[in-house]
Homo-oligomer: 108 residues x 2
């Protein structure tokens, strides 16, 4: 599978996390080859933090872990879709999903 | 809203398209400021094609358009979530969603 993935010039690929049963889109983060392998092996989602430049084991400090249910990838192999079981909140703000803001014509 | 978005070094931001009623994640593509404005104004989703380096009006040639239902954005303003009504297939392969392949332990 890893051979079918296309990483960008920084060795990264975007990954969408979706709650497997409700369909909520929780967040988008980035993975490198090592974080994908760890995610598959441990069934706990691990990203690559671009700001910290190291593996980011989701929930390691917050306990808001994501258990991997299924890993899917798109037609051209440059995006991953993680179906997960999210413990608590996905977002560091405490919101369930990072996409808690909607564009509002009046507020633009 | 546009002022709250963070575009990358190429002036782009990733956008996830999700079927608004079923929750299916359809695809991920990229938008620039102009494509976001056009999407909001026309209610028809317009991306930016990185390969063709121009606006990509989804369905312009295929008629597989995406009507915008709601535009959401994440906590740090660097990803967009488009809730859409997809006509036909989102994927150029004819599949409903681009994420039609799953990682299979046996097939790796």
């Amino acid at each position: 599978m890893l051979e079918q993935l296309h990483f960008n010039e920084n060795g990264l690929i975007p990954a969408i996390a979706q709650q497997h049963d409700t369909g909520e889109v929780l967040m988008l983060a980035w993975m490198n080859r090592e974080s994908i392998e760890e995610t598959i092996n441990t069934k706990q989602v691990c990203y690559y933090s671009r700001s910290r430049q190291k593996l980011w084991r989701k929930g390691e400090t917050s306990n808001q872990t994501q258990t991997l249910i299924e890993l899917r990838y798109d037609c051209d192999g440059d995006t991953i879709l993680l179906l997960v079981d999210q413990t608590g909140a996905a977002c560091h703000t405490g919101e369930r999903t990072c996409f808690y803001r909607a564009w509002d014509a009046a507020g633009e």
